[in-house]
């Protein structure tokens, strides 16, 4: 396994696009969060806003880059035919997928953690400037706050799980174009469909099973009792999606001719 890990790490490291995609993830996570926190204004008493979640809005955009990153890690090998070289060098296919998952997921986790830290820092500075001050009953964002810490760790994990989800789908579908369409469709369709369905119980159920709608509840820090699914359970739903897709991807890798 350690050889497989080393091999996958070397492959990913020497791919020219990797650095740019990872920088893109970082930039989008921090950037969109900063734009959002820079545009909200304190609107007087009674304003209740989840400042942590607001600062971490960038995740909703950067997950698209994470999906590209993970899909390329597998789909790129299929479209170039390199997968045959890989599987000749490492015939145990589950090991190959496992190594890919660890390397891709780990790298995403690291970059995601850096992005989340940057987004929270930007949010802390910008929100204070926009009137969300202690005088108005808001405390500055800090990892010392339990729910904020949970949201921060959870957001980085969220990105890593999205990477695994994408990896599994890419291994199952092989064609990178179709895989990226499927991943982004899966992520963004749920919230859009949920937005249209006004039947309360349908609405709630869809929110509970959508990989993005459920997974991002990990970012909620206020009014957590009113969520359709509790933060960690929501992240668990995404983890189930990731495990399921990796399972499908692994089966496709093992059963089909390379």
């Amino acid at each position: 396994m350690s050889e497989a890990l080393h091999a996958e790490w070397t492959k990913l490291r020497t791919l020219p696009g990797t650095v740019w995609i990872l920088l893109g993830i970082l930039a989008l996570t921090v950037g969109l969060g900063a734009v959002v926190t820079a545009t909200v204004r304190y609107g007087g008493p009674g304003t209740s806003t989840d400042l942590t979640r607001l600062s971490l809005t960038g995740i909703e955009l950067s997950q698209a880059m994470v999906a590209v990153f993970a899909v390329q890690a597998v789909g790129g090998e299929y479209s170039s035919g390199m997968i045959r070289v890989t599987l000749t060098a490492m015939p145990r296919r589950w090991t190959v997928l496992g190594a890919k998952a660890i390397v891709t997921g780990g790298l995403t986790l690291a970059v995601g953690a850096a992005g989340v830290a940057g987004a929270l820092l930007a949010g802390r500075i910008l929100l204070l400037a926009n009137g969300f001050t202690a005088a108005h009953g808001f405390s500055a964002l800090t990892p010392a706050d339990g729910p904020t810490l949970r949201a921060a760790i959870g957001s980085a994990l969220y990105l890593a799980l999205v990477a695994l989800l994408s990896l599994g789908i890419a291994a199952a579908l092989r064609e990178p174009a179709v895989a990226i369409g499927a991943v982004l469709g899966l992520l963004y369709l749920f919230p859009l469909v949920v937005g249209m369905v006004q039947n309360q119980s349908w609405h709630r159920h869809l929110e509970q099973i959508g990989p993005m709608t459920a997974g991002l509840e990990i970012q909620a820090t206020v009014n957590t009792g009113g969520l359709p699914i509790s933060p960690w359970a929501g992240l668990g739903v995404l983890a189930l999606w990731a495990v399921g897709s990796l399972g499908c991807g692994g089966l496709a890798l093992v059963l089909r001719d390379a």
């Binding site: 909703e60 390329q72 369409g181 369709l189």
Partner: protein, 516 residues
């Protein structure tokens, strides 16, 4: 060793047809239809689009439905155009038979926002005002709710206006009415035509506009009115809108009342129409009229059939983006483009043919999905369940949605020509087209940034799906989350087309310059 005899140059006797643009289109269409995956994906696009639209319909609720039974309630009067309206004001009136006129001077119009009676929402913020609080003179078919009318009025924040039949609003020539600068208003009835005038001094009159109220009865109710829509304190927070409503009461001082024509000469009647608050006092030749908790405007419905029946468009769009990207990137991936360009060396035509094919396929996907989902939707819901849009609007939404899919597909094709990598192209298009729509309509962003996203990004094109009209004279929450796009349907679509045109131009330039 040289061959002794060189054969004569070869002449083919093969019959060749034309090799114009039509043949090129035929070739590109053959390319498209012979890859089974693409045909399947187009079918999937139709299926997801129709399925999501239909499930949005079954999971949704009709605007006027209670426990699955849909009909308009008595509080929803139907206006002269067959759509529901708000018709609620305090009316001081007399009967006029035949032609005539009414003139009045407003020397003051004030509006008082009432504190929340339950005290839950607290007090309205300091400096709050209701710009559309109004008072003036009105000619109305009858006191029946939703009947035809024409009115000339002073408003708190929008100067003198002439409004008629709920949807029409014409600006007058004067600003806010006060004792220092009173507003003289006049309304002249001649048959079914009503003409509004205003004047600063009662001698020099300026026409504001005329209204033709088709079928106006000979006997009409004419008089003074006042009403105020109240104040909404809207706060946008993450995840939605917090809105506190406050009633308000408009108070207007009328004098110099002059009547001409066939007036009944009865006493003035004061009536609160449509559940409005209000009262009046007559002091000599003057009147004080108060009215609140109402308005005379069109209704803005929650949703409508045409829009909901096509709400799955973005789902079909993702499938079409993938197809359009691959239609170009597969040419690059294995060098197939060289074969294509050897067969058709005029590169601009090749790009055009590809764009036409991928655009036509997407347009067809949109039309077929609409042909499936609109009838199903109409069967699921009674016609009263949603805001009835006209046939023209419905056609615009159906064709416009299909055109939206087509233009996004062509945009994708152009970017694919520039970028050549399918994952990069698909992600870029989804980030440019779907993401802004997602961010703006799911309450992730506040209305300001949301509006800008839907103005500046290609996602502006989704405005083509807007059916619910937007009225300046109606205080309402016009945000993307509520189905209101910041741009008019065709301007939004034009933004998308502009992006596509630029991308196509760049693609053409690059395709011509770059070695294949």
């Amino acid at each position: 060793m040289t061959t002794a005899t060189v054969p004569p140059p070869y002449r083919s006797d093969l019959k060749l047809g034309n090799d114009g643009f039509v043949q090129l289109l035929h070739a590109e269409w053959t390319k498209f239809r012979t890859v089974r995956g693409w045909v399947v994906a187009a079918a999937v696009a139709v299926a997801v689009m129709a399925l999501i639209s239909i499930s949005a319909a079954t999971g949704g609720k009709g605007a006027n439905c209670v426990n699955g039974k849909c009909q308009r309630g008595p509080s929803d009067p139907i206006g002269p155009y067959g759509v529901s309206v708000t018709d609620s004001f305090y009316f001081v009136h007399q009967t006029l038979d035949g032609d005539g006129s009414i003139t009045a001077r407003i020397s003051s119009l004030t509006d008082a926002i009432q504190p929340d009676p339950q005290g839950q929402g607290g007090a309205p913020p300091a400096g709050a005002s209701v710009p559309w609080a109004k008072a003036g003179i009105i000619v109305k078919q009858s006191t029946t709710l939703g009947s035809q009318y024409a009115a000339v009025m002073a408003t708190v924040g929008n100067g003198v206006r002439m409004q008629y039949n709920y949807e029409h609003d014409v600006a007058g020539n004067l600003g806010a009415a006060s004792s220092a600068s009173p507003a003289w208003l006049r309304l002249v009835r001649s048959g079914t035509t009503l003409t509004g005038y205003d004047s600063a001094d009662g001698t020099h009159w300026t026409e504001i506009g005329t209204a033709d109220l088709t079928g106006l009865a000979s006997t009409v109710q004419v008089g003074l009115f006042a009403t105020s829509p109240g104040y909404n304190d809207n706060q946008y927070v993450f995840g939605g809108l917090n809105s506190d409503s406050f009633n308000s009461l408009a108070t207007a001082q009328f004098d110099n009342l002059a009547l001409g024509g066939g007036w009944s000469g009865d006493a003035w009647n004061g009536d609160a129409i449509g559940g409005a608050d209000g009262q009046y006092q007559q002091t000599g030749s003057g009147f004080t009229v108060q009215g609140g908790n109402g308005d005379i405007t069109p209704d803005v419905p929650d949703d409508d059939t045409a829009r909901l029946a096509l709400s799955g468009a973005f789902a079909g769009l993702i499938a079409l983006i993938v197809i359009a990207a691959m239609f170009m990137t597969t040419e690059y991936r294995r060098g197939l483009l060289r074969t294509t360009l050897a067969a058709s060396p005029r590169r601009g035509r090749v790009l055009a043919a590809k764009a036409v094919v991928v655009g036509a396929v997407s347009f067809a996907v949109g039309l077929v999905a609409a042909a499936v989902s609109v009838p199903v939707f109409n069967r699921l819901w009674s016609p009263d369940a949603f805001y009835p849009v006209g046939a023209l609007t419905e056609a615009r939404v159906v064709l416009g949605t299909a055109a939206l899919l087509a233009v996004v597909a062509v945009f994708t094709l152009a970017l694919a020509t520039l970028m050549r990598r399918s994952t990069a192209v698909i992600t870029t298009v989804i980030i440019l087209v779907i993401m802004p729509y997602f961010l703006a309509t799911t309450s992730v962003l506040t209305p300001g940034p949301s509006d800008w996203l839907l103005r500046l990004t290609p996602a502006a094109g989704f405005a083509i799906q807007q059916t619910i009209p937007r009225f300046a004279q109606l205080t309402n929450v016009y945000t993307p989350t509520d189905g209101f796009y910041p741009l008019a349907p065709w301007s939004g679509f034009a933004v998308l087309c502009a992006y596509t045109a630029v991308a196509l131009g760049a693609a053409l330039l690059v395709l011509r310059r770059r070695d294949a």
